[in-house]
Symmetry: C2
Subunit: 831 residues, 2 copies
């Protein structure tokens, strides 16, 4: 068996000559067999070989599936098989028109993979019956290309990500060809429309090759497609404008016979693959001209080979072929006859023997072993996944002489560790960001690598940290970043996506689909675990300063928490060392979506690395140095916090309370791992009730300052004993122009308001601390008025440090100085 892993043999050229008749016949038979199996899956419950007359009971009572795109997908699959076998070219197939599920299942069955991974779908008549029956049937397989489909890394569902996934797969796989079929419906989506530009990022030497094939079959559910209804010249110009050399192929609109069509397409495919091989060869010899990569426009009728007209309405070559063109197949003898004739038109007796076995010459078209696209290990990335070599994150720790005794921009520290992650893993770890990697303070990575860019360069004065190869990829499209990263992870590599918190909602639906993929693959034994999808949301909603209301929304956390508990992790490290510890954990994990939110502005460091590791391991803990508890007694109040800004304000509030009401027993609890709050029965990270009570008490007031919308904390702690005593201060939606502390005040999460909350909820303080309460109200008004006058925070807030540090001099650096230098260095705040 040829292993694509051991001896990549790709990028051969081949003389462009017509196919010999035997190969031609094999290609045609594969196509007919795949089409037969596709129609069979959509319609038939039984009688898979038409061994007996077709009866209505042989037809499924509910017909659900998609025929329209399937014959085109089957055609391309057959031809690619021929070329792959000849060139021993490791290739995976991305099915942009993911509706065409039956086609991909059919091809995986024809090349033998399907029966290998699903042993009950045997290679005989009974196996065919089961293959047909299971499709889009309760307890069976979905009608789309899905995780269950061998050879797929791309779920059919929400459209738009075929090319992003394809390029993600191609990065760092220099010998891999990714044949990416793009539906002309999908081509209308935004993400797909911009993803053509991926070709300016791919490196012709060190990355693989994406061959986009625009499947121009002209129709969507009920409309023509835009790209099918413009001049061919205009369409060609569009592809040239996208940086491609288009090869236009049209077939199926006249009476040209199938062999002639196959012969023509084989020539096109060989020409295209030769062009690719030549580009790879030129690049290997040092030519840095950006290549115009070839692509194919594949114009064929929708529902090709199906019934031309049904009940007098044009079907093949129209939107009516999109789904199930003969929805009433069971209803009349005439319709049954249409279905039978349709199936027979493929000549099943030439394709399968009497036992239902696929004929030998069809099977002979399939490449060997892992060269089969449905068995290519790149499409089951966990097979190829290697652990990252991770530098010891403890060596990157910031010095924390005492809590709050030094300052750092946490992601800047993380960047130093990531730089070494890159150095140790030069070909299977990448950082993705929509033009924000520097803005998010990960600059240190540019000491180890560059931003990969394969469009024009203009010189070092303006092109900093840019090169033809590099581990950072940046384009101003969150969709593209997410899609590239998903493709990269699904093919067995590692990475992270850094983004502004408010704008990560752009990929809400994409993370949905990826999380669902992870959830389903966990139950598919032959799918191996892949690296987690890691987010770093480092320009968060509390520090959008004057940008505008549009930059404010912490709801991505709520969005991901709606996904399955086994898949989702949310971390809110409060300082630099906890961020390091958290990210080390994330990069080691598998099959999760890890959301990490950490501010990029200078902020105090609270925990030494040793403390940080212990704290992150627990996920939640009491910060005894910040509280004023008395050994052996219950605290009067719990001040809890999750997120860096809330933590800072809770500590400042605790400071006020310890100075002004020394008798008050305050416990400070910090939460890093948000899922710890949930019930152990609902989330694998959840605390038991006993653990929860130990931390938060069962009956004392809890004032909880939280980074996001407050409801999430209520939701997570819903069944806890302490829940009725829980008072959450979180993010509120308000559109105003503020300083950082203004934002805290706007959200009632500022130190003064937190002190007021404590006074209001601790019974004996209500009467006894009226003066302090009044003072806090005044302090808020004064702070607000100061920002209106001066445009910055009042000094008592701006220069506040945790008191232990104050006693022995100011903390190192100090918040204000760092802030200015950081601003100067990076061009200021968020975009």
């Amino acid at each position: 068996m040829t292993s694509v892993l051991d001896s990549p043999a790709g990028w051969r050229t081949r003389e462009v000559a017509p196919l010999d008749d035997e190969t031609l016949e094999r290609v045609d038979k594969w196509w007919r067999a795949a089409n037969y199996l596709s129609v069979g899956q959509i319609y038939l419950l039984d009688n898979p070989l038409l061994a007996e007359p077709l009866h209505r009971d042989h037809v499924k009572p509910r017909l659900l599936g998609h025929w329209g795109t399937t014959p085109g997908l089957n055609f391309l699959y057959a031809h690619l098989n021929r070329a792959i076998a000849e060139r021993e070219q490791s290739t995976i197939y991305i099915t942009g028109p993911g509706h065409g599920g039956p086609g991909l299942v059919a091809s995986a069955y024809l090349d033998g993979t399907y029966s290998e991974v699903y042993s009950d779908i045997t290679e005989d008549a009974e196996g065919l019956r089961r293959l047909f029956r299971q499709f889009s049937f309760p307890g069976g397989i979905p009608s789309h290309v899905a995780p269950e489909t061998p050879g797929s890394i791309h779920e059919g569902g929400e459209l738009g990500y075929a090319l992003s996934h394809a390029y993600g797969a191609a990065f760092d796989n220099p010998d891999l060809l990714v044949a990416a079929v793009v539906g002309d419906g999908e081509a209308e989506t935004g993400p797909l429309a911009t993803s053509w530009h991926s070709n300016k990022f791919v490196n012709p030497v060190q990355d693989g090759v994406v061959l986009p094939i625009l499947h121009l079959n002209g129709y969507k559910i009920a409309n023509p497609t835009v790209l099918a209804r413009i001049d061919e010249d205009e369409l060609s110009a569009l592809m040239v404008g996208y940086g491609h050399k288009p090869h236009l192929f049209t077939a199926g609109f006249d009476d040209e016979d199938a062999h002639s069509i196959h012969r023509r397409f084989a020539l096109v495919l060989d020409e295209v693959l030769n062009e690719i091989a030549e580009i790879k060869d030129r690049a290997a010899r040092g030519d840095e001209t950006r290549p115009m990569w070839p692509m194919i426009v594949f114009r064929t009728p929708k529902g090709w080979t199906g019934p031309d007209y049904i009940d007098g309405k044009k079907t093949t070559g129209s939107w009516r072929a999109h789904q199930v063109p003969l929805a009433s197949a069971r209803d009349t003898p005439e319709h049954l006859q249409v279905l039978r004739e349709w199936l027979e038109s493929y000549g099943p007796e030439e394709l399968f023997d009497a036992d239902g076995r696929v004929s030998a010459d069809i099977r002979a078209l399939a490449p060997a072993g892992h060269l089969r696209m449905s068995d290519n290990p790149h499409a089951n990335g966990g097979l190829l996944l290697k652990d990252l070599r991770l530098p010891d994150f403890r060596e990157y720790a910031v010095d924390v002489p005492r809590p709050g005794g030094s300052f750092a921009e946490a992601p800047r520290i993380l960047g130093q560790w990531l730089a070494d992650v890159i150095r140790l893993n030069p070909d299977n770890f990448r950082i993705f960001g929509p033009d924000e990697t520097a803005s998010n303070r990960l600059q240190a990575v540019f000491e180890a690598t560059d931003k990969q860019w394969n469009a024009e360069f203009e010189g070092p004065e303006v092109d900093e940290h840019m090169a033809r190869a590099g581990r950072v990829l940046e384009m101003l499209s969150e969709h593209q970043m997410q899609g590239w990263l998903e493709g990269y992870l699904l093919t067995g590599r590692h990475g992270l996506f850094n983004c502004y918190e408010a704008f990560i909602h752009i990929v809400d639906s994409m993370v949905n689909q990826h999380a669902k993929w992870l959830k389903v693959t966990a139950d598919i034994p032959w799918r191996r675990p892949i690296a987690s999808l890691n987010y770093l949301l480092s320009s968060h909603v509390w520090r959008q300063d004057h940008n505008g209301f549009s930059h404010q929304d912490p709801g991505f956390i709520d969005h991901v928490v709606n996904k399955k508990a086994e898949i989702v992790r949310v971390y809110l490290p409060p300082d630099a060392n906890t961020l390091l510890s958290t990210y080390d954990h994330c990069l080691r994990s598998r099959d999760y979506v890890n959301v990490v939110v950490s501010g990029k502005q200078p902020a105090p460091n609270f925990l030494t690395m040793e403390q940080a590791i212990a704290h992150c391991t627990r996920g939640v803990g009491i910060w005894d140095w910040a509280g004023t508890e008395v050994e052996g007694q219950q605290p009067d109040v719990v001040l809890a916090c999750a997120g860096d800004v809330p933590t800072l304000e809770v500590l400042a509030a605790a400071h006020i309370l310890r100075e002004r009401v020394p008798v008050l027993k305050v416990r400070v609890v910090n939460v890093v791992d948000l899922m710890r709050l949930q019930d152990a029965r609902e989330h694998p990270h959840g605390l038991s009730d006993r653990e929860f009570d130990n931390l938060f008490t069962a009956d004392r007031p809890i004032v909880f300052a939280y980074h996001g919308y407050p409801w999430l904390i209520h939701r997570l702690t819903y069944r806890r004993n302490g829940h009725d005593n829980l008072h959450v201060r979180g993010y509120k939606e308000e559109g105003t122009t503020t300083t950082p502390f203004d934002m805290a005040m706007l959200n009632d999460i500022d130190r003064y308001k937190l002190v007021i909350d404590v006074i209001d909820h601790v019974h004996w303080m209500r009467s006894g601390q009226a003066n302090l309460r009044q003072e806090m109200v005044d302090a808020r008004l004064r702070a607000r008025a100061y920002t209106r006058d001066h445009g910055e925070d009042i000094p008592e807030v701006r220069d506040w440090v945790w008191p232990d540090a104050g006693e022995t001099g100011t903390a190192e650096g100090g918040p204000q100085q760092d802030q200015v230098s950081a601003t100067a260095a990076t061009g200021g705040d968020n975009e």
Copy 2:
């Protein structure tokens, strides 16, 4: 004052000739003045006219804003002013690079609008000081183009929607020019990349004209832009491929003087506007050839006219000019001097008189009155908004002889009413959908109108309901639909967006931004209310049948509920008449985001129109006909429901209970308006606690079957008395292939499980109804096994009707028959 409304005078041609010197000087002075005011806003707290030496205290302590795009925006604004005045061409300006807030504020100040709407920003030195100070300052205005900016319908924040908004504004405004500046950063986003294709949808006779201006200044935050780093030939091909005739203009990279640059650009602009006028003229004379609309590529240096180098680093013409290029302006005398020289380079003494008044010749460049782009009423759409003429929805009612006594596909009924809405409002109401309007069962609208399409046609066999002008717009891009609709609403018209529920997450971040716009404009007195943004999510997650897990996510409701309560409304009408009543309400409303979820599959009708109106008016109510309460007694249990599938299952459960445990007092409560559940103090629609208790009781078990994720119901009812007795069954994430009833079982929301829930929560039933409980368990197993065998629901479920109907014969139509015919008519289920 010229009114653009009364006498549109646009689409004139003008001889293309060089500008006269006086006009040239005015254009140049406007540009310099706008640049001066922009720099002033970013940097200065005081000393606005540089009347005294520049001192560090005159400079803002925190510099936050964006210079890079601003001078280009100002240049274009100045030139458009000239052309608008000459041609009396009603024009609005869309600022794709929305960071350029200071530029748009500057131009609105120069033409007088700013002082008209903000009377404290006077036209004198003190006014200038306030203008500068307020920018990106606490309590002031955001650094981006925002709702506060006169002339804007497009918030600077998340990028990608400039062209979608522009086309939305242009539809049905035949005399309007929309100058849409597209940033080359924004051009990398998916939504923008596909929105160029909008030109295939705009009608050259009945719609206005969008003039895209690609602002190619080469850089983003920290990277070059893709489109600036490809050959000009390639870029031109891209624009041609998008269907445009590109006009390339480059300036600022050599020592060409400003007047020469202005002269060249004026010629380009006149040529372009003449081409537009000719296209409009040809179209008016009946030429139906799709025009290649002109567009401009405007290539100028980023930060044009700013300091070339700062501290030895290239600034103008690089990414370093993106934000605040002189972030340390206050820090050293040298930097202060750089700032002063920069400001003085514009010659403020020629631009403002000693009192700070804008010089007369600058002001003379501005067009008159509403022709000023900052005062164009189309950019304050509420000014132009007319109430829809709505047909009496009661006349479209389905007949409901008794509850559950007839069947309908609710959106199909709604479509009949919408068809008449279209007939009565032929030019200010549109329906938007991503190729799903027919799939979502709104087909009846095509009796009144067509899908507007201005690409090629291929004849009636395949092009059903398509025409060059029509009220329905469909393209396979949810972003585009949302963007078009937003632009249409913001310019004072009405519409709705129909979409599959799972895929509406694609526009999560867009609805965020629109909701925030609505929230802010509510507090801006000169902004008038606009029509609400109406969703119809009609292919919902309970009926995705076999499509796949990717089609399942009801979380859009959770997403919008995180927005401000004043803005958001969520409706879950349980049948056809309630859907009609709900939608009538939505189309009358203003300034809301209305989310309406209603299944498209055949389902029983429960309420007569009279009952439906009463029920929708209350938003929530007891369905006494479905319950078994006894007058004057508390019920034993409340069965609550929200959503059509949950309602059906709750009624079926109530049916079982009334037959099997007649002694049990069941109350059935249905919720249409989800926000009624919330506290009256938190949402304007919220019930008072007394009202809530009256409906749900304070102490009886409530079994609540809900359409979406169960947590939302807990959240909304958090503080209610009955909350501790509330047991919510909602949507759970599971990826399997199911029939409709399978899906209900998967989610524990099926009739049998609901009966079990009642038994488990009503104390006396636990012991007394063990047999019934066992029977229900068996019924579930039997139903599940049946679908595995037959591929469809078990007859006892499939054919179930509400018993009152059963007593007098079967209901009209019946669920199964309708389902088949509907499937046949539309090609089956969801895409």
